[in-house]
């Protein structure tokens, strides 16, 4: 067969450009086309859509769902699902703002405790899925309600403000070419880069895919599938904590009613629109980033052209069912 000679030594510096090429040729082309079509549609409907100011607003709106969707992607890649994303984030947000505003805890420890709370929920989800071996759907439906209840109990249905400036850092903006970007958007992109690297360039990433693809085969090759699953839910919890931090920075208050309805479905919609299969083992985070942007563009565009919020729910509902149907049909052809 092949008779290529083995090059003496390959450094990281020849690998990096190759990695870039491969990233660009990733199977996220379909979602990208969908994004461009969506943007074209709204820019024809209203002049305001393509304005730099509006596009930077879209990015800020994408920021929170985008970070949640990283965790959701990991979970869905293992053939699981996490319904607790939105309420876990909401609870994390209440923990960090209440500690900072009402309990006089310094900003950074308050922030870390809020994030740790979300990590704890991730570990609870992961522990129930791996040790007790419950289906992810039921586990996260349970933790959804637990986090929801705790959000209202702990907050006593009060909002928390004004927040110390450290909690608002990721909401601050800087300007490039007339468009405002928040540091939160930068953080989101960094997190996507890390997730892309972990999933596509490390053994851990291969194991995540294998666990979702054929768990028994993964186990037989010696992969500790339980540890991979537990790790995935824990990391997902971490992303919800970071999303809580970004939400606080954007809204500038701790709100018990924040992030409980739209974020849940939006994170799943982003993952599925991004081409990740609900059956596990297939998908990319680059696709998810595009999917999250599609969701953000839809919400923003529908608002711009004057569609009432309740109809936006209608559209997102239809959108996610369409995307899942495409996934189902593709899956049926493959097997």
């Amino acid at each position: 067969m092949t008779t290529e000679t083995i090059p003496a030594k390959r450094s990281m510096w020849t690998i990096v450009p190759q990695l870039l090429v491969r990233a660009l040729s990733a199977p996220a082309v379909g979602p990208l086309v969908a994004l461009i079509l969506t943007m074209a549609f709204f820019s024809l409907k209203t002049d305001r859509f393509l304005q730099a100011q509006n596009l930077s607003l879209v990015l800020q709106q994408v920021m929170v769902v985008g970070v949640l969707a990283i965790g959701q992607t990991l979970v869905i890649l293992t053939a699981g699902i996490d319904l607790s994303v939105g309420t876990v984030m909401a609870f994390g947000q209440i923990v960090m703002t209440k500690l900072a505003v009402a309990n006089g805890v310094p900003a950074i420890p308050a922030l870390l405790l809020g994030i740790l709370t979300c990590v704890g929920f991730g570990m609870l989800n992961g522990g129930l899925v791996t040790i007790v071996r419950l289906p992810a759907f039921i586990v996260t439906l349970g933790t959804l309600n637990i986090a929801f209840a705790l959000t209202h109990i702990v907050s006593n249905d009060l909002t928390f403000s004004p927040l110390p400036s450290a909690l608002l850092f990721f909401g601050r903006t800087f300007t490039i070419a007339g468009a405002d970007f928040t540091y939160g958007v930068v953080l989101m992109l960094v997190l996507y880069a890390i997730a892309w690297y972990g999933l596509s360039q490390t053994a851990w990433g291969r194991h995540v895919y294998a666990v979702g693809d054929n768990r028994e085969a993964a186990r037989l090759t010696g992969i500790n599938t339980q540890r991979v699953l537990f790790g995935v839910y824990t990391i997902a919890g971490l992303t919800y904590g970071i999303a809580a931090m970004l939400l606080v920075a954007r809204t500038e208050l701790g709100d018990p009613n924040a992030g409980q309805t739209t974020e849940n479905l939006d994170s799943i919609t982003a993952v599925v629109l991004g081409g990740t299969s609900l059956f596990g083992g297939r998908g990319t985070v680059i696709g998810t980033l595009i999917g999250a942007t599609i969701v953000g563009v839809f919400r923003n565009g529908l608002t711009l052209i004057g569609v009432q919020v309740i109809y936006q729910y209608l559209v997102t509902g239809i959108l996610v069912i369409l995307a899942v149907s495409v996934d189902q049909l593709a899956h049926r052809r493959q097997r």
């Binding site: 067969m1 360039q201 194991h207 294998a210």
Partner: protein, 264 residues
């Protein structure tokens, strides 16, 4: 018949599941460079025996010797660590990963440099090169090792599983009904592949229900009945119908008779 030192020996293996005695003092021998088939009726203890040899279950009594040394497998991982690989009938591959990734699943190669180690970067090129080397050695026809396994036929997928087992199996490979899920043509491909694994000097334990295949491939055939080895025959000394007669108990096996004399 010359008797070289067996690479794998099992002596007096006993395994009970509640009141059911699945293995009742079963023996087994595998010689270097040979294909040894295990046949037996349903419930004769074939799969229980094979699971004790691959580490999937732990025997209640008896001993396993690998190259003359006692070994004890607490899990399939233990068996794999000493170079025993198993191919399962149900195509144990990850379809969405590519061929090279499947070959190296759980044993991925990372870049050796300090940066590669720090970031745990996969050396995908090295894995692909190694994988295609295994495939060319086994003469498995696949377009590219970078192809996703889901695009392969059932026979090619099992080819991936066999290539993985023979790539990592330093001592021996266990094939548990490797063609049970395949069509006629694909079965042929996998049978040829098993012969090529032996050509490379790797001994094979083959479990199959298909008598013609067993008689075509095996150097030795171990016949099991009621949780014991009752005979070891070769395709040269016994016909298929004679083997079946021993299997069903119509004719007593040679070892059975010896055992009977000892006990009586």
């Amino acid at each position: 018949m010359s008797t070289p030192t067996p690479i794998l020996q099992a002596r007096g293996i006993v395994k009970r599941f509640g009141h059911v005695v699945a293995l009742n003092g079963a023996d087994f021998d595998l010689n270097p460079g040979e294909i040894t088939a295990i046949i037996g009726d349903n419930g004769a203890g074939k799969s229980t025996l094979i699971k004790t040899l691959s580490g999937a279950i732990q025997p209640d009594d008896g001993e396993i010797l690998l190259d003359g040394e006692h070994v004890r497998f607490r899990s399939p991982l233990d068996a794999r660590r000493v170079g025993i690989e198993t191919v399962y009938q149900d195509l144990a591959v990850a379809p969405s990963l590519d061929i090279a990734e499947n070959i190296f699943l759980g044993r991925e190669l990372q870049y050796r440099g300090s940066i590669g180690r720090l970031f745990r970067t996969l050396d995908k090129r090295m894995m692909r090169r190694e994988a295609s080397r295994h495939f060319s050695e086994l003469r498995i026809g696949i377009p590219s090792v970078g192809q996703a396994v889901e695009n392969l036929s059932g026979g090619q997928r099992q080819g991936v599983a066999v290539a993985r087992a023979s790539a990592w199996g330093r001592r021996l490979v266990i094939m548990d009904e490797p063609t049970a899920a395949l069509g006629v043509k694909e079965t042929r491909q996998v049978l040829d592949l098993i012969l090529r694994v032996r050509e490379r000097g790797l001994p094979v334990i083959l479990i199959s229900h298909d008598m013609p295949h067993v008689f075509e491939l095996a150097d030795r055939i171990q016949i099991m009945r009621l949780g014991k080895r009752v005979a070891v025959v070769t395709p040269q000394t016994h016909s298929m119908s004679e083997a079946v007669a021993i299997m069903t108990g119509a004719t007593p096996g040679e070892l059975e008779r010896v055992l009977g004399k000892d006990e009586g």
